[in-house]
Chain length 321, copies 2
């Protein structure tokens, strides 16, 4: 029995029926999944010749999303940010577990959330193989497993001096989406909001970059900070050319309106891939991408804007700072 | 810089320095760990002939532990409950990821928490290979990966009519520990509190049960409910003999004092293994354990106490119910 607003009263739907009702109905698609939800562990096999890529990302209400955010979009985005981490290593997603902490068992919320998560999972043939459902402040964690041919994963530490720097897609649309949510009056908000609410993890692009790219990272915390991780771990520097950054018309209009030209470099949530390729391999690139700069020996990140170096902080968004 | 109570002010310690300071210093022990903390994903290899066992468990403040609970014990317990899930399938732990949602970056808390978690990890040669640290209400999630020989995992669904039912260790000590925390005056509280605060996952026992046991589960939510999962998934029933249950002196005293004889059957958190073995294989058991009942064809769980069947609800603790 469900009351008017779809909230289950205590005792009406427990943890186990909740799991089986909303999350166990996904058809398991991988021959490698031997056992899914319902035991103490899931059981998988990993084919010979592949490494297992492992990642986890958490989204917390009022930190990563606004209270009352659309549950279907949350389910999509939670999985997308994890698949994006796999994509940045060139790994093809295999399976995920879900740790769901919920203040209450709200049937409508759960139906929408699972629809968003399982919809994206289906498009990438990812099996939801297990999880834990607990009562508490809304906190959503996915752990994702992927496969990458042994020794081929794209690491942050593999950039070489002279590499060209590329990125997929456009920059700053998700940042603009956040500005729109915060009140910026955008004439054509749809693409920016879509990118902010339901990012598209670049799984196929990541796999296509194996044997072509050197270093790779996904743009979750902002280009300047994320590229900064590549520079730090590869012990190199870089120059970016502002005029070469791929910006949508809506982001260009935002910059013209506000003067906030640095937004695309510092805003997060784009979930595009940023990667480096040696000049000799540049003609092997088979994906749509834009060259935005070059890796150099001198440490630090230099941004050329109208031919002049602009100060740019390479710090990502950090919790607790 | 740290203020008097060890709480870092905003800007003093960000997410990345927190991770590297408290969680990156563990020496990675597994030759299968190719890349640990610090990139978008960790990279592991899974040896041929093994299945990967995957599990996740969350602990939430004020739900799974009291506010102000000892951080070192929390770190231990969070890992222990996940290793216990691996143990119940007969899987040897391989590596874990940690999703840590914290209200603030409290240096003393983090030092103690990581000491508890990494201490237990070291004793079981588990590599902490990645994680996510976010700001929010205290919520702790571990995802654990383990290895079990292909096709050999101990499943809940594998109990057979006629199997003997066994458990490792003693029953109800953790439940007594909770009663002590809630005010029960126990004359010898140390063992019960130790079992409640820092359970010992039965990893070696689980591995020793491969090729011997049929079904297995770990006692996280109470014997009646957890055995109930085996019965439901194996489509069988069972009889338990109350007088055969392994109870510590402290639990026997508690029952004499209070009359609460059902506590050991319904209290959770013991993290012992409960498993079934066909009579023909009973002499192959190489671990310390106690026979407590038998699997039967008739559905349901029958508890014989002083020769009389007692009503017993086989429902585990469920969130939201």
């Amino acid at each position: 029995m469900v009351d008017e607003d779809g909230v289950l009263s205590p005792g009406q739907m427990g943890e186990f029926s909740l799991i089986s009702r909303f999350f166990k109905n996904q058809a398991l698609t991988k021959p490698s999944t031997h056992l899914g939800i319902g035991d103490d562990c899931a059981l998988l096999s990993v084919p010979e010749g592949f490494d297992l890529a492992v990642t986890t990302d958490t989204m917390v209400e009022n930190v990563h999303f606004f209270a009352g955010a659309d549950a279907k979009q949350l389910g999509h985005k939670l999985l997308a940010v994890n698949l994006s981490d796999l994509a940045s290593m060139g790994a093809r997603p295999l399976s995920v577990t879900l740790a769901l902490t919920l203040p209450k068992a709200d049937e409508n919320w759960l139906a929408a959330f699972s629809q968003g998560l399982l919809g994206l999972a289906g498009r990438h043939s990812v099996d939801l193989v297990g999880g834990d459902t607990t009562c508490g402040p809304l906190t959503l964690t996915v752990q994702a497993l992927g496969l990458v041919p042994h020794g081929k994963a794209l690491k942050r530490s593999a950039a070489k001096v002279g590499d060209f720097i590329y990125m997929t897609g456009v920059l700053g649309d998700a940042g603009l989406g956040l500005k729109i949510k915060q009140g910026y009056p955008c004439a054509s908000p749809d693409q920016a909001l879509q990118r902010f609410n339901q990012p598209d993890p670049q799984v196929d692009a990541g796999v296509a970059l194996l044997d072509v790219a050197n270093a790779c990272i996904d743009l979750s915390d902002g280009l300047a900070g994320d590229l900064g991780h590549i520079l730090e771990q590869s012990q190199v520097g870089a120059s970016l050319v502002y005029e070469s950054l791929p910006l949508s018309n809506a982001v260009r209009t935002y910059i013209n309106d506000t003067g906030d030209w640095a937004m695309p470099l510092t805003a997060g949530d784009d979930y595009e891939l940023c990667f480096t390729v040696s000049p000799e391999k540049a003609d092997q690139l088979s994906i749509n991408c834009t060259k935005i700069g070059v890796i150099e020996a001198a440490p630090g990140l230099r941004l050329y804007k109208s031919g002049i170096i602009q100060p740019l902080i390479t710090k990502s968004y950090e919790h607790f700072s």
